[in-house]
Amino acid sequence: MMGQILFALLLIAAIALFTRSIRRVVRNIRLGRPEPINGRRAERWRTMALVALGQSKMVARPVAGIMHILIYAGFVIINIEVLEIIIDGLFGTHRIGAVLGPFYDFLIGSFEVLAVGVLLACVVFIARRAVLQLPRFRKPEMKGWPSKDAMIILVVEIALMSAFLTMNAADLALQELGDAHYPPAGSYPVSAGLAAAFGLTGLQPASLALIERSAWWFHIIGILAFLNYLPYSKHFHIVLAFPNVWYGKLEPRTQVANMPRITGEVRSMIDPSVPPPEPAPARTVAGAEMPERFGAKDVFDLSWKSLMDAYSCTECGRCTSECPANLTGKLLSPRKIMMDTRDRLEEVGKAIDAKGKWEDDGNSLHTRISEEELWACTTCNACTQACPVNIDPVGIILEMRRYKVMEESSTRPALTGMFNNVENNGAPWAFGPDKRLDWANDVNG
């Protein structure tokens, strides 16, 4: 009975804590500019089914892709086992799923196989980081916490899977001893071997029960702890990948979203009878007035979708390893753009939590992301193509360029020349419209 009460308290605490974290993340995402995402629902569901559920972009790199699918399938399916653990924990039952009979045997058997798959994939992933040291895991933005975070996740997953198999092995040994509390249930293709290999069958029932219960508690406490680690980790992608793909950009990659406010301004410039648009009223965000801005100075000026992108990023670096600027030694790393956005958003969120409202701290997104990074982007969209969860770093880069150019009049000198040419000559080069048809003079030649 004590165990059940303890379990219920733990479960409630873990869920309450997780809910609080989620509300905080949602609050942070909502600090972004409102951007209605309407329509094309069928296409959105289809894209989500294909990209998030179906992992279609993961397999662009087959080794990592297949390993990832293994962990993903393991995670999704082993959650059925977690459901059983929760029911058993709350009601003091043992292997409640056994009522399913042979189907239960099949389930447990397949969980065991998957658990081994997950274990192996995690070991390979650790090796890729620690031994092979793949270049994309060793970029400057990966120093410190990002690399530790990745390792913590992999080690925890190994520990959880090991606990799961240990629990099963001890359970099987107890079943074979005919222990009244452990009636025969389930099929154990992997842990049967473990039980034999570690000589579990020779142990006393009391010792076996201790191992079984310890592994059981370790497994479920580990899962609850891991759940609460997610919102602080890149691993949060397991939650956000789905909505992030659903809300993702469906327009052609190279299409830049329009700024209707500027359309109004320009229309009134061209035609004096059209009144200039009224500036949008300042938005109140976390108790602070946010003026309407052209482009993005800070996270408040980015679309909420860009902020969701930042929380969905798992720092895999496929974007950066495809980025032509990064490949040629330039400072830009699309992954760093996403990490910087998330870090700044977290910083802002913490400040709001501490003071109850937002007060300008003198920093912005531009404190973290330099002009050199922004101006290195060719908008080729190799990054958006490579991202397994359809994150759009180009959108953020473009909004930040807009702020630089339109609010601060800060650009690269040669671009000022290009702007002047377009404005005065209607071409990025210094040739007037009167020369535009000169090519036709010798078209027959």
Binding site: Q255, N258, I270, T328, G329, M406, P428, D438
Partner: protein, 262 residues
């Protein structure tokens, strides 16, 4: 040889006629010496196919693509609204352009500003002319040559068009050699996002050098391009490796015009 006339939309409007398609020449196609050759080649194809086309001439102005991508939304919209007014004034329905950047802007970005047209890249248009039998290609001097195609980001990855340029190239009876980074994984030439008009940011090498090295690695006789900016970047890259004597960088329109002796 029959003289090619370059009619303008204004001339068509004066006679009350409507051309089959508006050829959007673009700034590069109008002013850049290298790109002008692409423009002329495409016009020779249009002429051979008896396509009733027109250009805007002096009424055409930059689509605003480089301004928008460099963050100058005001300037972009000033250009775009001006162009939309002109295009809508002539009742333009169909546009073809040899520049993937103009293509992307006209096709995807002008609708939000009141300009909706059917926009085609010239490789799509040439492909249709070939399929309809309006022009024929016998392969000409490119039979058996090794040709590799560099996907322009704004045509391929941006707008999902990978096949039209390849289908056209296959008509040359050449050996089409795919680059390692091709189609959706194609590597940028380094000019997009307004980079064409500025110094590259500091790095270890230039993007066009990286791309040209890869293209030269395929040992081609011709590197085929479908974008005036890619063309310039790759031409510079080939020169960087002193290979301009052996490897030519040519637009698909130029290849078709040459093969058909237009």
């Amino acid at each position: 040889m029959e003289q090619i006339r370059i009619p303008t939309m204004a001339e068509f409007a004066a006679t009350g006629e409507v051309p089959e398609v508006l050829f959007w020449v673009g700034c590069a196609g109008s002013f850049d010496d290298r790109a002008r050759k692409i423009t002329k080649a495409f016009v020779r194809i249009l002429n051979a196919a008896k396509v009733k086309f027109a250009v805007l001439g002096q009424e055409e102005t930059c689509t605003g693509d480089p301004a928008r991508r460099a963050g100058n939304e005001f300037l972009f919209q000033m250009q775009a609204l001006q162009n939309v007014t002109v295009l809508n004034g002539y009742g333009v329905k169909r546009i073809v352009t040899a520049c993937p950047h103009c293509f992307n802007t006209l096709k995807n970005e002008y609708p939000a500003l009141g300009g909706s047209y059917e926009v085609l890249h010239h490789t799509q248009f040439i492909n249709a002319l070939l399929k309809e039998g309006r022009i024929k290609v016998e392969g000409g001097g490119f039979q058996g040559k090794r040709i590799t195609f560099h996907d322009p980001c704004y045509l391929g990855r941006g707008n999902g068009e990978y096949e039209a340029p390849r289908e056209v190239l296959l008509k040359l009876d050449a050996a089409l050699v795919e680059l390692k980074r091709s189609r959706q994984n194609g590597l940028c030439c380094g000019a997009g996002g307004a980079q064409m008009f500025k110094e590259a940011e500091p790095g270890t090498r230039e993007v066009n050098i990286e791309r040209s090295e890869e293209a030269l690695g395929a040992k081609p006789d011709v590197i085929a391009a479908g974008c005036p900016f890619c063309n310039t970047m790759l031409t510079d890259g080939v020169k960087h490796f002193n290979k301009e004597g052996e490897v030519k960088v040519k637009d698909i329109a130029e290849l078709i015009a040459e093969a058909s002796d237009l």
